[in-house]
Amino acid sequence: MGSEFHIVVCGSIVPDPLQTLAPQDGPAGPSLKNEMMLPAVLDPWAGHALFEAANLAAKNPGSQVWLVSLGPKAKLQQVMMSVSQKAPFQLVVADGSASGFTDAYETAKVLAETIEGIGGLDRSKMLLFGGWQSASRGSGAVIQMVGELLGVTEQFQGVDKLTVGGDGSLEVLERVEGGAYQKSVVDGAPAAFGWATGELPEPPNNPQVGMQNMQKNMPALMQAKPADLSGTSLKFSSVELPKQRRETRIVKDVPVDEMAKEIVEWIKG
């Protein structure tokens, strides 16, 4: 027997991980050089959360998925053209900076307020999803704060597996130190989950799903309200790329035995 969930996934965009990034100072603090020109992707951990949400919703009829995203809507629109083909969801957009230097609390506040404004969301059925980290700020703090602001006090981080029991209970595997999992059980929604990689591969593109999504999501993008992220005193005195460059010794045209001997001595040394 399934359960009916209202799954809210928080996730934004980040620069493509393969891009070279450099910081620059601006009037509003640090930012990425050529930030708006950099190709963007859905944050990898948010992606895992979204795909797990879609899978959970498919297994539990009556469930719905919202993707709540704080980001510049022009860039979001580009990314959503591809993400929308992966899984069915309703996009909810707060138009603002997706910079990694944006304060985690201000981000959480905007997300919580945006979630509170979702029509038809039953918070007693709510599962709050997101990444446990991001490829931008990487604080691992936003989902917890969104949950607290919404009164969701059963929370899990580094989640790789979520299993719904016949009684609607949720069994969770969370990553802890040393490659181990902590197994917990919560009796049901509402609860918050910061996802690690999960266990699902990235779904293949489905143009039909993409068409259905974009019919709903284009208006959401057009109607996105500007997000106010100005309430922080956070100040950066510097943001720097690490300067350390090593003098790499190249060992080539040397017999395998000699290389192996040197490696073993180094390991044991």
Partner: protein, 336 residues
Amino acid sequence: MTVLFLAHTECDNSLHKSALETLTAAKALADGMGSDLVVGLIGADVAEAAGTIGGCDAKFYAVSGPEFADGRYASDLTAAEAIAKACSPEVVVAPATSRFSRALPGLAIRLDGRVDTHLSGLAAEDGKPVAKRWFYRQRMEGTLTRDERPWVLTLDSGCAEPFDGAGAADVEALSVDVSSVRTKVAGMECASEDQQTIRPDADLLFVAGAGWTKKQADGATHVPEAEETIRVFLDATKASLGSSKSLVDISGEGGAVISFLTHMHQVGQTGATPRHPKGLSTCCHGEEPHVVGWRFIKERRAINLDAGCGWAQGKCDVLYVGDAFAIMKKVNELLG
């Protein structure tokens, strides 16, 4: 003014090394700010832990009992909230363990403060706290301050020397009610000692790249041989195993896989950034994403076929240009 150091006990009621490191940083911060240091402990039984750090010249609070033996967001947060409200700190400093990384961001909300996590450095400048942390997954480091208080901070491991100062501690116990917490911890799932290949405290990180599963000089793949070579090396050295994302993802692309590699082994832009004294990379290539995984590895060596590899040049100390299958097989022989 008060700096609150928060720590949780381990399953044997001791304090983890990262907690001791964080205490060093918290004490230095309190001294630099001219503030009092308060220690807050959470766990099943905190007496032993308190005794190991009793010499830190602080007032001690604790929330303890069987319901605090395991890490749960709601109970840990309620305990931390009670301790914080007992001492009204300006700054809260805690180790960025999985347990506190889960719970303490919520503390900032409950205290109407702010939180910054995964710090790589913490100091007092002109009597005020200044934090350092990495952005964009260890690709650039920022130095930051803020005026909001209390400021909840978690410090990553390896950023300070462990505190050493046992002594008698007079611990004030606080009582909190967690009967309404709906989460029950059902235990741990751990690989056996022989099967476990993620070893955070190992001296060596061995990173396996996608080259291990690619066609070799004879035009065929040799995945079983790769598995055996890696497994023998890990058994001999007790190194921790890391993987590039491309290798972990090969299963999704229908390629042959190293059977004992999972996403938990992944290092780099979309994985972990482990801290080990030495690192040996094999069959890896690539630029920025791989560098991220090696950011905190001190001595780095690599084996691959490309002397001009952009990842290795300038990033590792020694690059062995050769066939990792042959070199590692010989290494295993020498390790006996």
